[in-house]
Amino acid sequence: MTMGILNTVSLLYLSFIVAFILGMNDHDKPRGVVAATVRRWLKLLVALVVIGIVVRILSHV
């Protein structure tokens, strides 16, 4: 597996784990955990993609 794919898969996995654990901390019922996890995961991914784009642009300036 190339490092690029490994890093991308790691980004998805680790951001999911963070969102899932925080969701489990916040809620008791499975439905609440799932909803909080998905919401947090998507927000986190968008934030990470934006950071990635900014870093990419700045590295070419």
């Binding site: 490994l6 963070v18 899932f20 901390n25």
Partner: protein, 159 residues
């Protein structure tokens, strides 16, 4: 039941989910254990390890120290990895080969995936810190294990 036992906190730090296990919340304990230890295991497979921090006169050691503290969040396996790193160094300096378990737990600092593996260990440790502090929040002041959101909702409905 509502009282926090120190053993739950320390035990939860050593083994993720142990505090919930002792409170008979088996499913939550099992999920937390699998997720946190699974992430740590992937980190070890990527040749990561809990290495002792580097002391750098230029100030670069601060990041290393913070990473080290957070990586120790996984308690028992973190300490096993740290001990293996130190033991492997000792054995190699004495021209002896460490065993396969020590090799696995001590990672490989020259490997291309070492930093990524270390990051998995970092996330694993940080998540366990969150779980332990959340456990404390759930069982303090008579909350009886309910999440803060549900506790607040219940308090609101009583008013």
């Amino acid at each position: 039941m509502g009282e926090i036992v120190l053993l739950d906190i320390i035990g939860g730090w050593f083994v993720p989910g142990l505090g919930y296990f002792r409170r008979r919340r088996y499913f939550r304990a099992f999920i937390l254990f699998i997720v946190i230890e699974g992430t740590f295991f992937i980190g070890l497979c990527l040749k990561g390890s809990v290495a002792p921090p580097m002391i750098d006169a230029s100030g670069g050691g601060i990041i290393s120290m913070l990473s080290f503290i957070i990586q120790l969040g996984n308690g028992l396996v973190s300490m096993a990895s740290l001990t293996s790193v130190l033991w492997a160094r000792h054995l190699l300096s004495a021209n002896m080969m460490p065993g396969s378990l020590i090799v696995f737990l001590s990672g490989k600092q020259t490997d291309a995936m070492y930093e990524l593996g270390g990051f998995y260990l970092l996330v694993s440790g940080a998540m366990n810190y969150f779980v332990v502090t959340n456990f404390y929040d759930r069982y303090k002041a008579g909350r009886d294990g309910r999440s803060i959101i549900e506790h607040q909702a219940e308090q609101g409905s009583k008013r």
